[in-house]
């Protein structure tokens, strides 16, 4: 805005009147537009936040079997490294509200940009029950298949959360914690496995402590 008040080099301010008479339109418009944008943000902000949260909550039944969207409780936990993270304690929609498991949001660097995922865990955080990619900008046609349930994500379900996942070279060995990477997207595949590993390493203990207290 300050630049606006300076007259162009070829014209002197004396000839054109004072700074205010030069710039009043810019100042007025800035105030009007600012007000309009504030209005838009106040109206739409909550809807946008709700969209983001709904996307997470909508995936809960898919990530943890038997869980109901309406029975999800947000809990803020501190990880082993001290970072804070919202996790979701998910329960079944039955008479006892049986505790079914946890949904842990996590993120980290992918091949192109940040990858954001949701990890489903069972009640004592010992088994991965599901995985979903919320946000990614991996290479279209190669790396972006990390969002494909059948091709990639389904193989995470049922894996132990007590041992880190590794990327298989060739066919996955039978010891259970090797992930078959996507063809032509080894780095994207490894990024997802790393994100899952570090999130579990960071939050498995806090989740178990939380599980023990809320039971």
């Amino acid at each position: 805005m300050h630049a606006a008040k300076e007259p162009a080099m070829s014209e002197t301010p004396e000839k054109q009147g004072g700074h205010i008479s030069q710039a009043w339109l810019v100042i007025l418009l800035a105030v009007l537009y600012g007000g309009a944008l504030a209005g838009v943000q106040t109206t739409l902000g909550p809807i946008i936040e709700k969209n983001k949260k709904d996307e997470t909550l909508g995936k809960v039944p898919q990530l943890v079997k038997g869980a109901a969207v309406g029975e999800t409780v947000e809990i803020q936990l501190a990880g082993v490294d001290g970072s804070l993270q919202m996790v979701y304690r998910v329960c079944a929609d039955d008479a006892d509200k049986t505790h079914q498991g946890w949904v842990l949001p996590a993120g980290g660097k992918g091949f192109a940009d940040r990858i954001e995922v949701l990890i489903g865990l069972n009640a004592d955080a010992s088994v991965i029950t599901g995985l979903y990619v919320l946000d990614q900008k991996e290479t279209p046609g190669l790396g972006d298949y990390i969002t494909d349930q059948k091709r990639f994500l389904d193989q995470f379900s049922g894996r132990s959360a007590d041992r880190p996942l590794t990327i298989a070279k060739g066919d996955p060995a039978g010891d259970g914690n090797q992930i078959r990477p996507l063809t032509g997207a080894t780095i994207s595949s490894k990024s997802v496995a790393d994100i899952v590993n570090s999130a579990i390493a960071n939050f498995q203990e806090p989740i178990r402590r939380e599980a023990a207290t809320t039971r």
Binding site: A4, A8, L37, G141
Partner: protein
């Protein structure tokens, strides 16, 4: 300035083909290259750009007599940025999935020179009605251009159109067309074809 300024109808027609923003003026290359991998994001981008272009044209046209010549670009940018922010927020609120897919390219409409060029060429000089016609014409032209590139890329690249399967499943899908290089290849080819058609038409006119 020229004594004759284009009328509303002329502005409208010119935007669609004779002065098509992409094929004739080569403006707005960033969205043209970035979001034409499929029809859905391309048409959302065309819609958002149309909203910003028409709104900015109307606004600038309304205040055109108050503009100080050396501050006009600042006013244009301010106006465009405001409407782009509104478009971005509305998309995030009501078309969340597509807005996520378009990512940074919605905010980047601010630097689409198509819009600022229309402010400069048309709406800061002519009345509101002409400015609206100009904005609508240019928007249709822009949508046609994005649509044509996206159609070829999506059909040949993924075998679908607007996400609907079009080619048989056995179609291998030319992955290169969905990837960024495909955008450059396709734009180059289609520009060449548009130029070729234009030249042939000119030759015919001269021959007649």
């Amino acid at each position: 300035m020229a004594t004759h300024e284009p009328t509303a109808a002329e502005r409208f027609i010119q935007g669609i083909l004779p002065e098509n923003p992409v094929y004739r003026q080569l403006l707005g290359m960033c969205p043209t290259l970035a979001v034409t991998g499929a029809m859905e994001p391309a048409m959302t981008m065309a819609g958002a750009t149309a909203f910003v272009l028409i709104s900015a044209n109307v606004m600038i046209s309304l205040i055109r007599r108050l503009l100080k010549p050396h501050l006009r670009i600042l006013v244009f940018t301010l106006t465009i940025a405001t409407f782009v922010t509104i478009a971005d927020r509305v998309l995030a609120a009501y078309l969340y999935q597509i807005s996520k897919q378009l990512g940074p390219y919605v905010p980047l409409i601010i630097v689409n020179c198509l819009i600022i060029s229309r402010c400069e060429i048309c709406s800061s000089k002519q009345g509101t009605f002409v400015a609206i016609c100009d904005g609508v014409g240019m928007s249709i032209g822009f949508a046609l251009a994005l649509g044509s590139i996206a159609t070829v890329r999506e059909i040949l690249g993924s075998g679908t159109w607007f996400g609907l399967p079009l080619l048989p499943v056995s179609w291998p899908g030319w992955g290169i067309l969905v990837l960024p290089p495909g955008a450059f290849l396709m734009l180059g080819l289609l520009l060449g074809i548009a130029e070729w058609i234009g030249q042939r038409r000119n030759e015919k006119k001269q021959g007649a």
